[in-house]
């Protein structure tokens, strides 16, 4: 296990990158703490896989260094870095049994036979694959194959980090849940440094202690799931995390008065003078939909265009003064014909040129 330091790291797939835009991964400086679970979250093409490949050693960065604890591993190959990786599509050795698959990395490293047997049998227990130990691995289901891929990393007690590249892509929803919680439990049990690449916010948020949100080759925010939900530092994070994403509308701010969709609200925070493009964001979870009497003076008229009942809750889509607003309401809430939206003003976030501005209390 190791702490991983990214030191002025950047990568371009071009031999001679000219401008910032040529970099698939723009400069990043960060220390991944030993034993933590991280998620790299972003849409395809955001550079998350590039970063993962640099950490695993499949790619040598054009700039900067990667350190495992105090050792510079920038130019070391994956096998020398002593890491494990689980890929998007299950990689298993077709002709071997489950047992042999798990023993393979140990045998390659010349581990003693009795020790191999001990660890393999232990791993079969942990992965709940005991009854399939003698089966040929190719006949198993996708989730079992992914468990084997993971197991091949875990049998080596001393791996510096375990990397996951969208490991649940080919898994059915029910098994996704099981595998994900199992992963989480394994992390709690063994405290490996884990890095998990995904475009799926649910996977990232549930898995990670800290989520690294990437967008167009840049890290836009690193934070706990709560931070990303409550105070997205960039409008992209607000949009990308949450389902539906944050409502982000053009607005105006004057000290403690915030204008949102042509309605003014007084906040208990003070904002400095802001220039540039000002936007105000509020999560659909913090927009209440009620009728005129309940709303009182806080309510603003909401033109409802659709109500989607998705079982657990309803998504109300509508507009306030022509600005698109989504709201999430409980499953047993009825949306009145003449609806009013009530914003939880303590949850309003102000953005200047897409970046969060925090007010002072």
């Amino acid at each position: 296990m190791a702490q991983i330091t990214l030191d002025k790291l950047a990568h371009s797939y071009l031999a001679q990158p000219q401008s910032d835009a040529d970099f698939a991964l723009k400069q990043i400086d960060y220390v991944w703490e030993d034993g933590s679970a991280y998620a790299l979250l972003g849409p395809s093409g955001c550079g998350k896989t590039t970063l993962l490949n640099i950490i695993s050693g499949l790619l040598i960065p054009s700039k900067g260094n990667v350190l495992f604890d105090a050792n510079d591993v920038t130019h070391l190959s994956p096998e020398e870095r002593n890491i494990a990786q689980v890929f998007q599509f299950p990689v298993i050795y077709d002709t071997m049994t489950v047992e042999q698959n798990l023993a393979f990395p140990l045998q390659n490293r010349g581990v003693e036979k009795s020790e191999v047997n001990k660890r393999v049998s232990e791993m079969l227990d942990i992965l709940e694959l005991k009854d399939k130990a003698k089966r040929r691995a190719r006949g198993l289901s996708a989730d079992e194959k992914q468990k084997i891929s993971l197991g091949r990393g875990l049998v080596r007690y001393d791996v510096n980090a375990i990397l996951f590249d969208e490991p649940l892509t080919v898994i059915d929803p029910h098994m996704k849940w099981q595998l994900r919680t199992q992963l989480k439990e394994l992390h709690e049990q063994f405290n490996h440094t884990m890095i998990y690449v995904t475009h799926d916010q649910t996977e990232a948020l549930t898995f990670a202690d800290k989520v690294v949100v990437m967008y167009e080759g840049e890290v836009v925010q690193i934070g706990t799931p709560e931070q990303l939900f409550d105070e997205p530092e960039h409008t992209f994070v607000g949009y990308f995390i949450g389902s539906p994403g944050m409502n982000i509308l053009p607005g105006a701010v004057d000290a403690n008065a915030v204008t949102l969709a042509e309605h003014s609200f007084l906040l208990d925070r003070q904002y400095p003078m802001l220039n540039g493009s000002i936007e105000v964001g509020i999560r659909p979870e913090f927009v209440k939909v009620t009728d005129a009497t309940t709303a009182g003076s806080a309510g603003v008229p909401l033109q409802v265009s659709s109500v989607e009942n998705i079982g657990r809750h309803k998504i109300v889509r509508g507009s306030v003064n022509g600005h698109q607003i989504d709201a999430v309401v409980e499953e047993d809430v009825n949306v009145p014909a003449e609806a009013y939206a009530v914003f939880d003003t303590s949850r309003l976030n102000v953005y200047q040129d897409s970046h969060l501005v925090r007010g002072n209390n």
Partner: protein, 363 residues
């Protein structure tokens, strides 16, 4: 209208589709929901006429089409993989079905541009598919299906290979796009969440059989059996065996109180008690909620919600609560069950015996 009459499909010795009867109306959106290998693709291939059934009959608008080749049926299909003609531009890709139909150049041009506009492809019309992102490639395939004005549009997990957010956006757009064409619209997915967002009607599949076919929210709220309820639940449904004696419900060694009035008629015996993860909570919000003690496994915090995995009398449950709750692994905690949200299934055959009432929806 597309009609299946006791359709079965055998391949070799394995039964892929087992006695399916189904009626899909014109202009309707129908979701086929089921895990991998439950027969969604097999069923779609039968609908398209790519396969013919081993037994049973298929009718389109009352006319029997069993065994008729796919080329004679007016069908459009979009797959999970992005399938386009790699050597053609996006424009030509979208135009291809119209060219086959022998439309005039001006009509082709206007239809292609209209479809491209709807699917936000206008600026990519001159590119070839391989120079596009996955989302754009799939939108091209969708546009091609759209311009064809097929009577039957089959979408086989079309968004599975796309990014989460992109999926979210297309999911909202898709039903709207195809609703105008008046086609029978069939959408296969493994994800309950997707079915709910699409709405329309849902058929749940299990091992080649359709377990239920009804409006999506009704299937979700009133699954006919435990299998259907489990297929249609994400996160997984919490279940535990329970018994009823003299209108008292007992499970996990605890008396869960009097059965709700609309379930009072249930006979004494064994049942499977089921409830959804968001109907258990860590705090008591209503005096009718029943407290049981459970052991914490792991917890997952998404920022706005917390999933707590607990074990209660041998049963594994997920508790989904609002807000951030930090609980320690291995701790005993009290969770509160809401009896008004209980489902009871027959312990023997899994049939639904009692479902919560959904007055809110009815109103």
């Amino acid at each position: 209208m597309l009609q299946f009459e006791s359709v079965s499909k055998k391949v070799g010795r394995s039964l892929h589709i087992n006695n399916v009867s189904l009626e899909l109306e014109k202009g309707s959106l129908n979701v086929l929901l089921g895990p991998t290998l439950s027969g969604k693709t097999s069923l779609m291939r039968l609908m398209a006429g790519l396969d013919s059934p081993t037994s049973g009959d298929i009718y389109v608008d009352g006319k029997r089409v069993t065994g008729q080749s796919v080329r004679k049926r007016n069908v459009a299909m979009v797959y999970q993989q992005f399938i386009n003609y790699p050597a053609m531009t996006v424009y030509e890709n979208i135009a291809s079905p119209l060219r086959l139909q022998g439309e005039s150049q001006s009509s082709i041009d206007s239809k292609v541009r209209e479809a491209a506009e709807l699917l936000k492809l206008t600026e990519f019309l001159d590119r070839t598919p391989l120079n596009l992102s996955g989302g754009q490639q799939q939108r091209t395939a969708l546009a091609r299906a759209l311009v064809k004005r097929a009577e039957l549009v089959l979408l086989d997990e079309p968004l599975a290979n796309l990014d989460y957010k992109l999926r979210e956006e297309l999911r909202v757009e898709l039903p709207r796009l195809f609703a105008e064409t008046g086609a029978v619209f069939v959408y296969a997915t493994t994800e309950p969440h997707e079915a709910l967002l699409l709405g329309g009607k849902t058929a749940t599949l299990h091992e080649g059989s359709i377990t239920q076919f009804d409006s999506t929210i009704d299937v979700y709220n009133r699954p006919v059996n435990l299998q259907t309820a489990q297929t249609f639940s994400d996160p997984p449904l919490n279940i535990v065996s329970a018994s009823v004696k003299d209108a008292q419900l007992e499970a996990v060694g605890t008396n869960l109180g009097q059965l709700p009035p609309n379930a009072a008629a249930l006979t004494n015996g064994q049942y499977t008690l089921a409830f959804r993860p968001h109907h258990v909570s860590l705090t008591q919000t209503d005096r009718h909620h029943v407290a049981v003690v459970a052991k914490v496994g792991t917890s997952e915090i998404t920022g706005s919600e917390t999933y707590v995995h607990v074990t209660c009398a041998g049963a594994h449950w997920v508790v989904l609560t609002h807000g951030v709750h930090r609980v320690n692994n291995g701790d005993d905690i009290t969770v509160y069950l809401d009896p008004s949200r209980f489902y009871l299934f027959d312990a023997a055959d899994g049939a639904l015996r009692h479902a919560p009432s959904f007055d809110a929806q009815a109103a």
